[in-house]
Symmetry: C2
Subunit: 252 residues, 2 copies
DNA sequence: CGTGGCGTTGAGCCAGATCAATACACGTGG
DNA sequence: CCACGTGTATTGATCTGGCTCAACGCCACG
């Protein structure tokens, strides 16, 4: 057992290094020493289970989190039990960026399935970023990328209809998974229909009906959480400001 | 004329310094020398007029822009002439943060009224940030704040009804203007009803009807672009996940 | 005093929400 | 192994908020 723990720890350590790397050191070369410095501040990576929270709304902000394996959803809980799902986070993606400003988490992060998460203490990270220009640049880019992604979501929620929203969701999942080396056309959704609907600003029933419709149209094969994309091209065209859909567009 | 130009330039220079300061050097003390260093890279600030573009979608990203006076809207133009308004930017607010990642603007920025804008060359800014830890921290916070703001908009577009959206819009304008020392209850909207509707994900007609309704209910007095807020408290309660509205809530 | 761009107002319609019932998967305990 | 319970997903029927279409009023400007 002890032996196994050590092996497991090293495995996680290396994988974590990789995932931190890929997001934060992506664009330009950081020296191997700098990469090690960055890696050395990444704290722990114990496996979390479905329902566990990385943090809750209102808690003090200390660290960013990087998903190594599994998936996490972030959401803003409102009194009366309602919530707005802000996003689903897949391996390689970073959580907690919105808390830097207030020094306090405005949203909660809940693990959707057994997941390994790296924790990056932010204060130490900032010190490092100040001494490694390329790391600072990567962080600026990362934050900026998040803003760009949010703008896409604003477009989705502000202008797209239900069909376009679900198509965009599928395309996004497909792209993000394939970026991690997983199949872009065959995957399991770790979130419920309810959570998908909440995220996309749709009722559960609408999501369910659309999955059925897409399946009837031969675009996907859906079995519960298992999704096979059969016609990615068509789904992509539906997701965009799809002119192919044959439906007239809003003008507002 | 020459004389006047010089005076005008100095006036702008000082005001610009102030506005750059307030957003970027807010939280912690930067030394006066560092403030001057920051100020010295702020390039130009010629007055722009209604309809002028700060930048257009697709252009190379070089600088961030800070609104000194006036207002700017950012939007993503889509083919077919449609657009999604991403935001309205008032004095003290920063534009262009989403372009850092791609090194290329994904949205366009158009001036809504005669405005003075500071330009901050990003590359120089980054160099400065790397040597002034508190500036780096401020920039991280600024980017993070933008992400937090976007999350609020996602909530608005995903869950709120038309009434809540317009109320939230009015509250936001009120707060942001008063933060700049302007009246929180009496102001002019520089954007058209169409642009408000686009931003809030509503049809122009809905916006118009709601203004009328709010006026009938004694919450505001509206005359064209001139808005007087008569009952800010009630509007605030409508804007939140308003339980006071007497209307049942969505659950998705 | 047109002419054209907003803004407002009215009437009708529809996408998607809501309500309601059933179906299915996955326990858990007997 | 089955009976039962609980939570989630699907499907159908109905309702409605806000969109669409259309007409008109009001400035502002040439």
């Amino acid at each position: 057992m002890t032996q196994r723990k050590v092996i497991s720890f090293e495995t996680i350590r290396v994988a974590c290094k990789n995932c931190t790397l890929s997001q934060l050191c992506l664009p330009m070369g950081m020296s191997p020493e700098d990469v090690d410095r960055l890696d050395s501040i990444v704290k722990r990576s114990r496996p979390l289970h479905r329902g566990d929270h990385l943090f809750r709304s209102g808690e003090r902000f200390r660290s960013l989190y990087v998903v190594k394996t599994g998936s996490v959803k972030t959401y803003t809980p409102s009194e009366e039990g309602g919530e707005q799902v802000l996003g689903f986070h897949l391996p390689g993606e970073i959580i907690g960026l919105d808390a830097i400003d207030q020094d306090c988490h405005a949203c909660s992060a809940k693990v959707l399935e057994t997941s390994a998460i790296c924790e990056v203490p932010f204060q130490r990270f900032e010190e490092l970023a100040a001494s490694i220009p390329s790391l600072q640049h990567s962080m600026f880019r990362l934050l900026s990328k998040e803003i760009g992604h949010d703008a896409e979501m604003l477009l989705l929620l502000g202008k797209k209809n239900a069909e376009e929203r679900l198509a965009a969701f599928l395309v996004s999942m497909s792209q993000r998974l394939s970026k991690r080396g997983l199949s872009p056309t065959d995957f399991y959704l770790s979130m419920s229909r309810h959570e998908i609907g909440n995220y996309l600003g749709l009722a559960v029933e609408t999501v369910s009906r659309l999955f059925t419709r897409f399946q009837d149209e031969g675009l996907v094969k859906v079995d519960r959480k298992h999704v096979e994309i059969l016609d990615l091209g068509t789904i992509e065209s539906l997701a965009g400001t799809a002119q192919a859909a044959g439906s007239r567009k809003h003008s507002n």
